[in-house]
């Protein structure tokens, strides 16, 4: 125990004077890495989207999206789709309508964009709630779910009541906040080809809310927001078409062709297999990882190069301390271990201090915890920097020993003493 205490004290003494610059170097490098990574965020979005699609079990679905000249055209379109052989159910996408608020509701200056969620949609793409219970479709309560970002920006919590109005109308709508959801895991509005790029904007809209849309609440919503069929104006109709699970690939392809025939061929249409959406999302994920790879490589090279430079420039100082310790009775192995542990403790301490930040960045901004093994991610966040610390320390100690090797201890220690 005595020996351990002595070694620890000697190591700490060396670290305080000789290796402390490495501590600051490690902290600064890690923080720079975190800042650069936080400036991004795409990787988290794509991985969260993949998880959302995977949970919604869309692999056997067909996504249908088509502009319509009038919203009143939609019921006929739906009927035609449902009558197609092999189609079991339609999960319509949410109606999106941006409403301008009246000035007389200053208590709700933030939330202006609405997505109306009917029950089948809510079940298929259940928002990932960070607080609150979510919608209860068995009641006629007028409820909404806001995003986590919206909650912060608007200072709104679960249970709060939000008032909405519409220019030109005296009617007001009061919605109770039933939950706060992760912005990355709301229903995406996909553009042609099943790309999520448009939907990425949704996640960034802090003013977005989703509103419970049921037969019990539809009338109240329509009064202020406007019903699905209320407007004669056109829009986009989108739906996930669920097919019979027992269909073979050939049969599903036949269904696909029949669905294509349903739509007006003179209009643009978007028809895509659910499994293709998954593949596209994964591909986007992989592309984004590739975009981040140079950043990781750059930071690693920067760190290693700078450490090597710092150690090399200071090696004679370290070597002089090495020689002094040897002169005063330290064994070769003991002094090398002291120097090694001094370097290691500085670098490891620096990583531990920034570990929380590093872990948050990696887990929340680089990857969804459901897509990457959380344990592996946490372990990797901690073990990799510690491994780097071990390697750097060993290298520094060996460089120091090599510099002192072949020299008379007395002569070397005479050159410089810290």
């Amino acid at each position: 125990m005595d020996k351990l205490r002595k070694n620890a004290r000697l190591s700490l003494s060396f670290a305080r004077t000789a290796a402390f610059n490495l501590f600051f170097l490690t902290v600064v490098t890690t923080i720079i890495f975190c800042i650069l990574t936080l400036a991004g965020g795409k990787l988290a979005y794509f991985s969260d989207s993949y998880v959302m699609f995977d949970k919604a079990d869309i692999a056997d679905d067909i996504y249908f999206s088509m502009p319509v000249r009038s919203m009143q055209d939609i019921p006929a379109l739906r009927s035609a789709l449902l009558e197609t052989d092999g189609v079991t159910r339609l999960i319509d996408g949410p109606i999106s309508r941006k409403i301008e608020l009246r000035e007389s509701t200053p208590d709700n200056p933030l939330f202006q964009s609405f997505l109306r969620y009917e029950e089948p949609l809510y079940e298929k793409f259940t928002p990932s709630l960070v607080s609150g219970k979510g919608f209860d479709y068995s009641t006629d309560e007028l409820e909404c779910i806001i995003t986590d970002r919206g909650s912060v920006d608007g200072h709104v919590r679960v249970g709060d009541k939000l008032t909405f109005g519409l220019h030109g109308s005296k009617k007001e709508l009061v919605l109770t906040v039933a939950g706060i959801a992760e912005a990355n895991r709301l229903y995406p509005l996909m553009n042609g080809g099943g790309s999520l790029s448009a939907a990425e904007l949704i996640a960034g809209q802090t003013d977005l809310i989703i509103v419970k849309d049921s037969p019990k609440t539809a009338a109240a919503l329509d009064d202020v927001i406007g019903g699905r069929h209320a407007s004669a104006k056109g829009g986009v109709f989108s739906t996930f078409i669920e097919t019979d699970d027992t269909l073979t690939d050939e049969e599903r392809e036949a269904v696909f062709k029949n669905i294509a025939a349903v739509s007006d061929k003179s209009s643009e249409q978007n028809l895509i297999y659910g499994k293709n959406i998954l593949e596209h999302t994964k591909s986007n994920l992989a592309d984004t990882v590739k975009q981040y790879t140079p950043l990781f490589v750059f930071m690693a090279v920067f760190f290693v190069t700078t450490v090597v430079c710092v150690v090399t420039l200071s090696v004679y100082r370290y070597a002089a301390s090495y020689a002094l310790y040897r002169m005063l009775g330290g064994t070769e192995r003991g002094v090398v271990m002291t120097i090694c542990s001094a370097f290691f403790s500085c670098i490891a301490l620096a990583f531990l201090i920034t570990f929380a930040l590093l872990h948050i960045v990696i887990n929340t901004h680089l990857a969804s915890s459901e897509m990457f093994e959380t344990t592996l991610l946490t372990t990797g966040t901690l073990l990799l920097p510690l491994l780097a610390a071990v390697l750097t320390s060993a290298a520094a100690a060996l460089i120091t020993k090599s510099a002192a090797a072949g020299q008379k201890l007395r002569a070397l220690s005479g050159k410089y003493t810290d």
């Binding site: 005595d2 003494s13 004077t17 002094l324 002169m327 005063l328 009775g329 330290g330």
Partner: protein
């Protein structure tokens, strides 16, 4: 039994493809409690001899026994242990850790020895008191005068209660008055504690203070 017994010791250094013989057939015996001065001009081999005695340097042939133990047969660990417990070093340029305090410097040798951890502060205080600088314990080396630094260096040398102090030009960087004080301190430690003193110097006045004066020239010890 003499403390130091050296017989027919030779030491060479490689110089390019050739070899330079720094010590030639050295025979030397130093008894316990002696004060010995080694004099010689620059390059005569006096510092090399001191380093060999202090196990900081090896030798090529001959025998060297320290307190009856063969140094030539010792491995690195044994030599390190010997230095940690038996030998103290005092150098011309002090060789202190400048960013540390006096007590931190004096503590370092105790880290390598067998002194119990809890007794270290007491021994450090005792050593600084014996060298006349107890009030400097918490002061950084950079804030001290040359004389104070050398006193701290001597405190570091004696903190492990060694049987031998090797001093290489201990007054070389000091003024005359301070040099006298330092020599008086070293000689006082010899008288009081029986520490054997071997001092390398080119100053004849310093040498005259010692009990025996040896001269070395071109690696040969003159009798």
């Amino acid at each position: 039994m003499p403390l130091i017994e050296i017989k027919n010791l030779n030491k060479t250094y490689p110089v390019g493809k050739n070899k330079f013989q720094a010590l030639k057939h050295i025979d030397l015996t130093i008894e316990r409690g002696e004060t010995v001065a080694i004099m010689g001009r620059s390059g005569s081999g006096k510092t090399t001899l001191l380093n060999v005695i202090g196990t900081l340097d090896t030798f090529d042939s001959g025998t060297y026994n320290y307190d009856g133990r063969s140094v030539g047969k010792m491995n690195d660990r044994a030599k390190s242990t010997l230095r940690a417990s038996e030998i103290g070093f005092v150098q011309q340029d002090f060789l202190l850790l400048n960013r540390k305090t006096a007590s931190e410097n004096v503590t370092v040798p105790l880290m390598f020895g067998k002194t119990p951890y809890r007794k270290m502060p007491e021994l450090v205080k005792k050593a600084l008191t014996e060298t006349g600088v107890p009030e400097q314990a918490k002061k950084r080396i950079t804030d001290m005068s040359g004389g104070q630094k050398q006193r701290v260096a001597i405190a570091r040398a004696i903190v492990t209660d060694p049987s031998l102090i090797l001093a290489d030009e201990p007054t070389g960087a000091l003024d005359r008055a301070t040099s006298g004080e330092i020599m008086e301190l070293l000689l006082g430690l010899n008288r009081k504690n029986g520490i054997t003193l071997v001092i390398v110097t080119h100053d004849s006045e310093i040498a005259a203070m010692c009990g025996r004066v040896l001269r070395i020239s071109d690696g040969v010890l003159e009798s």
